[in-house]
Symmetry: C4
Amino acid sequence: MPILKMSRVKQAIKKMKVKNELTRQILGEILGTFVLLLFGCAAAAQVKTSRETKGIFLSVNMAFSVGVMSAMYLCMGVSGAHLNPAVSLSFCMLGELAWIKLLPYTLAQILGAYLAAGLVYLIYHDAIMEFSGGVLTVLGPNETASIFATYPSDMVSMQTSFLDQVVGTAMLMLCILPLNDQRNAPAPKGLLPPVVATVVLGISVSMSANCGAAINPARDLGPRLFTLTAGWGTEVFTCYDYFFWIPLVAPMVGGVIGSIIYLVFIQWHLPEPEDDSEELNDETKAMEHNDKKDELYYKMSAL
Amino acid sequence: MPILKMSRVKQAIKKMKVKNELTRQILGEILGTFVLLLFGCAAAAQVKTSRETKGIFLSVNMAFSVGVMSAMYLCMGVSGAHLNPAVSLSFCMLGELAWIKLLPYTLAQILGAYLAAGLVYLIYHDAIMEFSGGVLTVLGPNETASIFATYPSDMVSMQTSFLDQVVGTAMLMLCILPLNDQRNAPAPKGLLPPVVATVVLGISVSMSANCGAAINPARDLGPRLFTLTAGWGTEVFTCYDYFFWIPLVAPMVGGVIGSIIYLVFIQWHLPEPEDDSEELNDETKAMEHNDKKDELYYKMSAL
Amino acid sequence: MPILKMSRVKQAIKKMKVKNELTRQILGEILGTFVLLLFGCAAAAQVKTSRETKGIFLSVNMAFSVGVMSAMYLCMGVSGAHLNPAVSLSFCMLGELAWIKLLPYTLAQILGAYLAAGLVYLIYHDAIMEFSGGVLTVLGPNETASIFATYPSDMVSMQTSFLDQVVGTAMLMLCILPLNDQRNAPAPKGLLPPVVATVVLGISVSMSANCGAAINPARDLGPRLFTLTAGWGTEVFTCYDYFFWIPLVAPMVGGVIGSIIYLVFIQWHLPEPEDDSEELNDETKAMEHNDKKDELYYKMSAL
Amino acid sequence: MPILKMSRVKQAIKKMKVKNELTRQILGEILGTFVLLLFGCAAAAQVKTSRETKGIFLSVNMAFSVGVMSAMYLCMGVSGAHLNPAVSLSFCMLGELAWIKLLPYTLAQILGAYLAAGLVYLIYHDAIMEFSGGVLTVLGPNETASIFATYPSDMVSMQTSFLDQVVGTAMLMLCILPLNDQRNAPAPKGLLPPVVATVVLGISVSMSANCGAAINPARDLGPRLFTLTAGWGTEVFTCYDYFFWIPLVAPMVGGVIGSIIYLVFIQWHLPEPEDDSEELNDETKAMEHNDKKDELYYKMSAL
C-alpha cells in the first residue's frame, strides 16, 4: 500500500512539475538568495541587537559565508546559483547565461533577498524593538537599518565607496572563475560551494570596513526595499547622500572587470587541451551526465 | 599466535553482534547524540564558567558544529545519523525512515543527550560550583541552567520564540536535503558530515540570539531533564512561562516545513535522470556497494 | 649534466636511506610531534606574551588543530601519525601497532615535543622575558609555564582533572576511529588530517577549561621536561599537588576506553562486507597500492 | 550570429595568446601575489583603521589564509602558484623550477605585492587618513605602515627576529611539501589550495607576534616599497635598525632549511613505488593529462 500511495503521489508531482526551465531557474534563484540573506541578515541582527554578546563582527562574516555555501548547494543544480546580479551579468558577458535571462534572474534575486529580510525582521522583531527603543532609524547609535542593507562608514567618500565595491566584486569574480575552469587547477565539483564561500569570507573580513561589502546589488536592494516598506522610511535611500546606488552599480562594473582580468591575464594563455575528442577522460564523461549544470561553465572554458 | 587469538576474539564478537537492525540503530543514535551534546554542552560550560576567558560565544557555536560532524561520522553508517527527532520526523515524512522507528529514534536521541549532560556536569562540576557559588539556578547572573538546555532572552515573546525555532529547523532541513540529492549538486558523500556541520554553524551564529538555537527537541529535552534531576529543580520547566515546550514542538513543525519547501520549490522540478539503467555510472556503482546507508537518501531522490 | 648530477645524488641518497622500518617510523613521529607542538606552543606563547592583543584563546585552539593536520600530512605515510602515546596505546590494543613499538613511539613523541618546546622558547625568548619580567614562574599572573605544559585551573579537584582527561581522550579515539573504518561512513583518505584536526579543535574549545586539554602524554611531558631544564625549576612537576601525572596517565586510560566504546557500541554491529574477494572495488584497489600505510587501519576494520 | 561572433573573438584571442611559457608564468605570479596581498593587507587595514571594531587580529590571519587559497586556485595551473620567492628558491633547489626562472618569479611576486598594496591604499585611503590624522607614520599609536609591510615588536632582538622568520618559513615548506608527495599521504589535488591556506593560517596565529610572519620576501618588500613611494618616507626601511632585510633574507634561508628537513627526515626514507611502469594507476594517468602542472612536483617525488 505505501508503494501504491507513492506512485499516486508521483503522478501528482509530475503534473505539478515546472516544465519551463526559466521558471525553475527563477524559483532556484529566489530560494537560494533567500537562504543567503536569511543567514547573513539574521547574524547581523543577532550581533547588533545582542550588543556583541552573542557574536562578533567575524560571526556575521561567517554567516554570509555559510549562507553562500548553503544557497549554492540548494540551487546550483537548478539555476547555477548566481545569487547575485553582478555574477549573472558577468556570466552573460562570458556567454554562460543568455542575456534574456539577466533581468528575470536579477528580479528573482532581489525578491529572494526582500523575503529573507522580511523573515529576519519577524524573527528579530522583539530584539530590534528593544535595541532601538522602538524607533527604527538609519543613523545614530541605535540604528538598525544596517542589519538589512549596507551603509558606508562616516569618513568614506563617494569615490572610495564606489572603488571599494568595484574591487570587492572584481575579486569575487576573479577568484571564483578559476574554480571551475578545467584547464586551470579546478576545485572538486562537489566542493565548489564551500570554496566559493571561503572566498566570500575573505572579502568580508578584508573589504567590509568602508561600506559593508555588499558586492551584490540584490543582497543590498532587496533588504533596503524591505526596510523602506517596514518603517525605516525613505531615509534608507536618501541617507549618506543617496549612497544606495553604489552597491547597485559598482558591483556590476566590478564583476565584469574581474571576469575580464581573469580572461585576459590567465585563461587566454592556458594551454589548450591537446585533442578535444581524446580529452573525454573520466572526469569529462562524468560531467557529460549532468551537462545541464555544466554547460554554462563549459562554454566559458571553451572560449 | 596473535592470529589464533584474533580468531577466537572474532568468534566471541560474532556472538555478541547485535543482529537486530533497529537495536543497532538505537545504539548508534544514542552514542551519536551523546557525542554531539558532549561537545556542545561542554563548550557552553567552558565559556560560561570561565567567564569568557577560555572561549567566546563563537566557540560554543563551533563546538556544536564539530559535535555534529563527529557524531555523523560516528553513526552515519549505522543509523543515518539523524541525532534530532525533527530530522527523523522529516525523514519519516519523506519515506526515508519507517514511521514505526520514529519513537525509538527519538527516545534514543533524548537518552544520548541526557547522558551527555550528565557527563558534562561531572567534568565541570567544580567549575559550575565555583561559578554559581554552589547554588544551581535558572535565572540571574550566576545561572548555570543554560549550559545544558536552551532558554529565551528576556525580551522575546512566545510567538517569536516559536517562529524562531520553526525557521531555524526549516533552514536546517532545507540546507541539508540538497547535500545528498544526486539530481541536484550534491556534496561528496565522505564529506557530508563537515558540510552539515557548517550549516549548523551558520544557524548557530545567526539564529541563536532569541532562544539558543536548539532546533532539536532531543538536544533540549535531554539536558533539561538532566538539570531537573540534578538539582536545578522544576524551574527548568516552569521558567519563562513554560518555555520548554517550544524547542520540543517548533523544531518538529519547522523540519517538516523546510523539507516540504525543498521538495516543492526545488526537487520536484529537477530534470529526471534520463534512463535509470544507464544512469549507473561509476559513482552509482560505488554507492550500490554500501547501499544500506544510501537507501534512505535514495528513496528521497526517487520521490 | 643536471641529469648526471641528479643520478649521483640519487645514489648517495639510496645509501643514506633508512632501511629499518622502525627507525623510519621513529623519525616520522619525532618530526610530526615536533610540528604539532611547535604550532601549538608558539600560539600559546603569542597569545600570552602579547596579552591577547595578537590572538585570543580560540587562536591557540586553532593552532593545535592546524598542528595536528600538518603533522598528520607530514608523517602519516611513514609512521601512521599517532603523535600521541594514548593513540599508540589504543592502536596496540586494536592490533594495529605491534606492542613492541609502543615504547619507541612514545619516546619519539616525547622527544619531538621536547624539541619543539625548546624552539618555541628560543623564538619567544624575548617576549617571555618581557612578559615575565625575567622571572620564569609557574604560578601567578606573570607565569609562563602554561605556554608549554598544561596546568589545572585553581578550583579543579584531582578527581575532576583525571576524569576530564579521560573523557577528552576517549572522545578523541571515539571520534577518529570511525573516520577510517571502511564499513562505517569514512572520510576521504586524503582528508583524514583536516577532519581529525577538526575533532581536536572541538575538544580544545569544549574540554580545555579544567586542565588545558592535553589529551596526550607526550604533548604534556615533553614541554614540561623542557621547562624543568630551562629555568622554571622543579615546580613544574610539584605544583598543584603533583598534577603532572594526570595528563600522563589519564589520556592512556581514556584512549583505551574511547576505543572500546567504539568497538562495542558501533563497530561490532556494522554489517560485514558481503564478500571479501568481490569487495575489491576501485577504492580498495587504489588502497592496495600503498598498503604499507593502510594495513594498520585495515586490521582494525577486519577485527 | 552569436556563434559567428564567438569564432571571431576566438581568432582574436588566439593572436593575443602568450605563447612564451615564462611570460605566462610571470603573469600568473603577478596576479596571484596581487590577490594574496590584496586580501591580506586590506584585512589589516580594516582591522587597524576600524580600531578592531570590524574585525580582530584573527580576521587578518584568516584573510591572508583565504588569500593564499584564492591565489593558488588562480594561478596554480599557470605558474605553480609559488607566490613567494622563498618557495621559488626552495623549488629551484628541489629541481622543480629552473634556476633561470628564480629572478623573474621573484620580481613578478614583488610587483604583484606592490600593486596590491597600492590598491589597498586607494580603497582604504579615507580610513587611513582619518585613523592617522593625515600623517603617515611608521611608529607610534597612529602608525599605519604596519598595514602594508611587517615590523617587529619593540622587545624583539635582531637575532630573534631572524630566527623567527627562518622557523616560520621552514615550517611552511616542511608542511606543504608532503601535501603533493604521492609516496607519502598526499592531500587531494583539487584541495591543495585550502590545505596550504590552513597551514599558513596556523603559522599566522602562532608565529606572528615577534615580527608579523612575513615568511615571504615579496609579501614584505612589495608593500614596503609602496609605502616608501606613497608618503611614509625612508623610515619604512631605516626603522627598527634597518629591520627590513630580515623578512627578505631569513625566509630564503628558512625555506631551504625546511625543504631539506623534509627531504632528509621523511622523503628519502619513504618506500619506493614497487615498479614504475605498473605504478601508472588511475590517479597517475589522470595526472599525465595535465602534466604541465604536475611535472614540477613529479620531479620532486622522483628525487
